[in-house]
């Protein structure tokens, strides 16, 4: 039971990673693929953030009159993921812009339609 609860967050991470990759690789719709990419990125965020936790600790912010024995969470994974979240929205925005252009040029955001249009040209 202890193993199960201690590793549950990693299993959720594996689940998210696979669900996200599934959408990126096997869905034909470009917007759906961006959703999958978002889930895939969030899986990596979860992996990093679950590393920072220390049992009985608190967030890495000092407080007035804190106990000298206060345990703090690891700040480094938090910094890496904080910036990565904002970069992920930038990537999503660029992907959506490309999807909009594809819709305007091909009249569809399905991969099968765009591939067919390219072949027929």
């Amino acid at each position: 039971m202890d193993t199960f609860l201690g590793l549950y967050n990693y299993w959720i991470y594996v689940g998210l990673l696979v669900v996200g990759l599934y959408a990126v690789l096997l869905k034909g719709n470009y917007i759906k693929r961006m959703i999958g990419l978002g889930i895939f990125q969030a899986a990596v965020f979860l992996l990093f953030i679950s590393m920072d936790k220390v049992e009985g600790g608190t967030g890495p912010i000092f407080r007035y009159g804190q106990d000298i024995t206060t345990i703090f969470a690891n700040p480094l994974p938090q910094v890496l993921i904080l910036t990565a979240i904002v970069v992920s929205i930038a990537v999503t925005a660029l992907g959506l812009a490309l999807a909009i252009r594809i819709k305007e040029e091909y009249g569809s955001i399905e991969e099968s339609d765009t591939l067919r249009a390219d072949r027929d040209e």
Partner: protein, 328 residues
């Protein structure tokens, strides 16, 4: 692990599956928003308050709006034709099995003796009060100890903004093709719903005030330039949703947003170069003032402002570029 954490973790996976499974892309997007909100709660439970604020503002707020404004242009139905590919499916299954097996060797959640807690984190925690003297260690690491990283990330955000503009064009394109769905969308706007409009408008100044608190109080409490920028952009997006994109573009013209984004990144770089002129290294803030600790604090305040400016204007610019297209 508490019951709450167990619940939010499980719900994250459930909402991810539902987001991928839903045939209607609108439903998918809403599930993705729920997913982000649950993810933010997870981060908060895992003692990462800064990350939780950013994920809530960016993932659940800004990203949902961007997806919805893209959907208005691309249509909401997925054909459901799946691409059956044998090799990717096998690779996915293998990946899942391998990662599950590997996870058995991971340190348990919250284990203080995990390798990640041994190397550099104790140094950050013990030196931050000495070298920088601000309470929020995350901000100290982000803006000072790892300032190069953050400069790179800021430039990535700026580049993505330029990328969106070069893909979609500077001005909203006026095309003759207007589908029936777009006409019906135009006739019933949020502008016509009095209650939504009044309540929504009341929220805008509160969100902006909160963004300013997150921006300038980020050294003392969770927050900083990235989350503040996203919150500020969220306020502008709310205005754009309530009043129509034409008005938000008029209030925040794309040209000015582009210049502000460039200005934010330039502030960051110039703080670094100014430190070099004063005899320090690039992005060494200690030389900015006669007292090295005060110099560090000044440098962090300046570059966080630059980051906030860039993130806010890039996200506003992207929203305007997406939503402005609807108005042909």
């Amino acid at each position: 692990m508490s019951f709450l954490f167990f619940f939010t973790l499980s719900f994250v996976l459930i909402s991810a599956v539902l987001a991928v499974h839903a045939r209607d892309l609108f439903v998918s997007t809403i599930w993705l928003g729920v997913f982000s909100l649950m993810m933010a709660s997870n981060f908060f439970i895992l003692d990462a308050a800064d990350v939780a604020i950013t994920e809530a503002a960016v993932g659940a707020g800004v990203s949902t709006v961007l997806f919805l404004s893209a959907l208005a242009l691309t249509g909401e139905k997925e054909s459901g034709r799946r691409v059956y590919r044998l090799i990717p499916s096998i690779a996915l299954l293998t990946l899942a099995v391998v990662l599950m097996i590997v996870s058995l060797d991971h340190p348990r959640l919250g284990d203080p003796s995990a390798p990640v807690h041994q190397h550099i984190a104790p140094w950050y925690l013990s030196e931050t009060p000495v070298l920088i003297d601000i309470p929020n260690v995350v901000t100290a690491v982000l803006a000072s100890f790892r300032g190069y990283d953050t400069l790179g990330e800021t430039l990535v955000v700026f580049t993505a903004g330029i990328g969106v503009l070069s893909v979609l064009g500077f001005r909203p394109k006026r095309k003759a093709v207007v589908t029936a769905a777009q006409v019906s969308r135009r006739t019933v706007r949020i502008r016509d719903h009095l209650i939504l409009r009044v309540v929504g408008k009341l929220l805008i100044p509160v969100i902006m005030l909160f963004a300013l608190v997150v921006q300038f109080h980020g050294e003392y409490s969770p927050g900083g330039g990235f989350s503040a920028g996203a919150l500020f952009a969220a306020a502008v997006m709310l205005y754009g949703i309530l009043e129509g994109p034409d008005r938000s573009i008029k209030a925040m013209p794309q040209v000015i947003m582009l210049r502000l984004a460039a200005l934010g990144a330039s502030i960051y770089i110039f703080v670094g170069i100014f430190g070099m002129l004063l005899g320090g290294n690039f992005l060494d803030y200690g030389v900015l003032s006669s007292n090295p600790v005060a110099g560090q604090q000044l440098g962090i305040l300046l570059i966080e402002f630059g980051v906030g400016l860039t993130v806010a204007s890039v996200l506003t610019m992207v929203f305007n570029a997406f939503a402005g297209r609807e108005t042909y």
